[in-house]
Amino acid sequence: MLAYEFMQRAFLAGALIGLVAPVLGVYLMLRRQVLMADTLSHVSLAGVAAGSLLGGNPSIGGFVAAVAAALLIERLRGLYRTYAEVPVAIMMTGGLATAVVLMSFGRTLSQSFSSYLFGSIVAVSTTQLWLIGGAAVLGLIFFIVFRRPLYTLTFDEETAGISGVPVRTLSTAFSVLTGMTVAAAMPVVGVLLVSALLVLPAALALRIAGGFLSAVMTAVGIGLTGIFGGLTVSYVANTPPGGTIALILLLFLLLGMALQKLLLLWKRRVHGGQTSQNPNGKKGMETI
């Protein structure tokens, strides 16, 4: 499988995005901005359409649109402090509407759109690979360098500001990075499934990890395993790679939740067995 150059590229793109997207997902979930990934991917679609119509590179158009939308959401967040989801909904509507209208201007656009909607990781271009690489490297540097202020910011923005964290600057940088990562992830799973790469690994990691760092590392592990597993299954079973990766990540989440539930029931049973015995170890009256 890895003898083919397109598969090598697919695994490289998957590895790069799998390193950064789940980390971003953890932060997005904790900041209650999960829908931001979906929104930015829809806006990114408008950028792809605009890029195509203007005769430029659609991928770069999508990249620019996602970053601009992320900045706008950050700006709107200040206006809707108590309804964090409102700016996200506004941008999603605006992005999708713009994409639909722009698509109507170019008849050939509709065909190439399917690769953006559903992903085409096995046909990743060199430009896309560079964009993915750039987003991954910048993202990793950002999360490593600013891990401490980001932790404080994610826990409580107000307290972070008082303790000297530059909340607005860091929050804006985080939004820009979200836009870049979402745009970079589009070729891997497509617009419709981009949040799968961010949210599903984080959703499982946050359930099973004890500490913050372990949650981040677990999310990356789940993300990479899901992407590599999905690509392999997709190659063997001849299924669409984007959908296969998302399904495998979903399967991980469901299995993880089921195992966690079973473990909890087992622990309760063990604990219940201990409390129902008297100190002499003989069966006695059960505690009501």
Binding site: V145, T152, E158, I162, G211, F212
Partner: protein, 242 residues
């Protein structure tokens, strides 16, 4: 020495002001209580003092000379501390350690001094034994105590507590007031605390400012004319922490 002062401050969230021409001084090294009925903008006044909100008119000034010309370290425990994200993936000790981030910077290592501070803070709020617990597994009162430990670990010049006893039992509340008294007396910390429990907290406070509505139905407030010193104050007494 005056540490921070509000002069004739007016502020509101919508069209009507909720803080109407309020003036208030905070003195260095005092344990100040801010109290008042619901809806008298106690938290808003606290946020104005902290500079989190910008007043429509009037001024909020910080006396930097009180801190040797430098920037004061402020420990803050918000009102909703006990209702924070229960799923946040952190253990108690990890969250309290985050209070040391400003000391160690972006890349500094946690040394023996930071670890001592973390242990000391957790012991002071009685949470050392639960340091390995996930914060989501704690009760509201325990979460509140963890947030107080995180504020203490910064070795603050000023501690701002917004209804810090929410969810705490009576013994924990008393211990908290004593701990704050100890911070004021032995470490020179200035403590400003919003509280409803003046009956309990009053004897530990140096001064109480009561906020009141000026007119029923109108969200205007002002501190009562006479800032009071609690009748049976423990402020001058000598006593040691348990």
């Amino acid at each position: 020495m005056i540490l921070s002062s509000m002069r004739d401050v007016v502020f509101g969230y919508g069209e009507e002001p909720v803080v109407h021409h309020v003036s208030l001084d905070v003195h260095k090294g005092e344990f100040l209580g801010i109290t008042g009925p619901n809806g008298t903008a106690k938290t808003t006044v606290l946020k104005l003092l902290l500079g989190l909100l910008k007043p429509w008119s009037g001024a909020v000034e910080l006396n930097k000379q009180a801190f040797g010309g430098g920037k004061p370290v402020i420990g803050y425990v918000p009102q909703q501390a006990s209702s924070f994200n229960a799923g946040f993936p952190s253990r108690v000790i990890e969250l309290v350690r985050s209070g040391c981030h400003s000391r160690v910077g972006l890349f500094g290592r946690f040394g023996a001094e930071e670890e001592r501070l973390v242990r000391n803070s957790l012991e002071q709020v009685g949470m050392w034994d639960l340091r390995r617990r996930r914060i989501g597994e704690l009760s509201g009162g325990q979460k509140q105590r963890v947030c107080i430990a995180r504020a203490l670990v910064q070795c603050p010049d000023v501690l701002i507590l917004d209804e810090p006893t929410t969810g705490m039992d009576m013994r924990s509340r008393t211990e908290l007031y004593r701990l704050m008294r100890h911070q004021v007396r032995h470490h020179g910390v200035t403590v400003v605390m919003v509280t409803h429990g003046l009956e309990e907290a009053g004897r530990y406070l140096d001064r109480v400012v009561t906020l009141e509505r000026l007119e029923a139905g109108h969200p205007q407030i002002a501190p009562n004319a006479a800032e009071s010193k609690p009748e049976s104050s423990l402020a001058g007494d000598r006593w040691e922490m348990e």
